[in-house]
Assembly symmetry: C2
DNA sequence: TGATTTTTAGAGTAATTACTCTAGGAGTCA
DNA sequence: TGACTCCTAGAGTAATTACTCTAAAAATCA
């Protein structure tokens, strides 16, 4: 028995992810819920408030994950961990999809987002730093920073990228898993050159685990099976 | 003396980049040009056609750049080359910003975009392959593919990312150069572990060249000068 | 029970916006 | 000059959409 307010958020999130925030009207949300527009606006002053509330959820969710202490950190564990992060970000993919617009339209949200990214990057640096201390990663401070930024770029735009190349992906939940795995794979590619010791031993195993199956995200894998005929009806 | 059709495209591009396609109406474009809406619609059947035509320009521009033969390829030259690519992409940054929406709204555009990405990736693989043949890069096929995908992810989302973190960047042309340079720097970070021979000698010099100045994109560099007070008005 | 507050419905509206239509100007060519 | 095509103006419209307002149901509480 969730409150109306939360049901609005849940439904909005689902619709936003599937159709894009731009294509989802407030009336549409109310309809999907079987409530009146008036009711919706009783709980949320305007559409932006819904987006803002969803960002709050998203950032809290992610920061909680990032705060969780994890004892002795191995590279394998870290990878599973990042897989979880990516999955959480995928759940709120509408946000990164229209990020620029949201930040442009709401200065307060922009400030919150900046602070959020700062914490994420900082926490990421700590994680990579721990791996370095354990001798699992070998890189200097500047390389670590570069790696961290590239990891964040990848994670925060992966969903949107995949969405662009496979417009069907939004509806097809089965694709999700495989696409997420490919995202993790690309992160592994980022880290690979710096891996040492324990990590190197598990590298092939992990790459195999996350390497996308041939039938998905083929575009990003080089060989396209049945999509090569363009233009013909 | 450019034709009205081209003036519409130029103005649309400028407005789209600055304000986002979503926030630019067709009437707005006509106003900015000092022409009537009727005139605009004489040249373009609808708004989507403008976007589509701009993508045509964009993709042709990029593919032309990518086709240009470049004789003996050094890593330094390749880096300048990528800098040019990134600059061209920045000129059409509105497109990647709302990419998902455009592809969702226009199936034909989606198909063209897919084909475009395929060619870009293929051409990128060739370039990296040449560097490998010259002994400048040391990596296997799979690593090359991973690197290529990550480079593309970075290039195609860098503008949007930067835009998200520095909403002011759209207006401030002076920031552009520095932000673009940081993008190239991140690409260097991707390649660095694989560099050998000639490239390693120029590495520090190139990193220094593209390392962003402290006063820009500070968020992505770790140390933030004056933005640390959050929440207070 | 009655009073008060919270939640809901649903009709309605003002504003926006993509796009149309008609008519007329401006080149061009015979 | 006249006919014909290309280009342009600008008023107008139908549809969408974020949001409001009033009143009533439902829950809460004394």
């Amino acid at each position: 028995m969730t409150s109306t307010k939360e049901r609005i958020l849940n439904t909005s999130l689902a619709l936003f992810n599937r159709q894009g925030e731009r294509n989802v009207t407030t009336n549409h949300i109310a309809d999907a819920l079987g409530i009146s527009p008036g009711n919706l606006y009783y709980h949320f002053r305007n559409k932006g408030t819904i987006v803002s509330a969803l960002f709050e959820r998203y950032s809290q969710h992610l920061l909680t994950l990032l705060e969780a202490p994890q004892g002795p950190l191995t590279w394998t564990i870290k990878t599973y961990y990042f897989e979880g992060l990516l999955a959480s970000m995928w759940q709120y993919r509408f946000f990164h999809r229209d990020l620029t617009h949201f930040l442009h339209a709401d200065a307060e949200l922009a400030a919150r987002y900046q602070a959020f990214v700062e914490i994420v990057l900082e926490r990421g640096r700590v994680i990579y730093g721990e791996l370095r201390s354990s001798g699992i990663l070998e890189l200097d401070d500047e390389q670590l920073q570069g790696l961290m930024v590239n990891t964040w770029v990848l994670m925060s735009s992966w969903a949107g990228l995949v969405h662009g190349l496979r417009p069907d992906a939004a509806a097809d939940e089965a694709l999700d898993e495989s696409l997420m795995r490919h995202g993790v794979y690309q992160i592994i590619c980022l880290e690979e050159p710096f891996l040492r010791g324990e990590a190197r031993e598990h590298l092939e195993e992990m790459k195999a685990r996350y390497r996308a199956a041939n039938n998905t995200s083929t575009l990003l894998l080089g060989h396209v099976p049945g999509l090569d005929r363009t233009g013909s009806e």
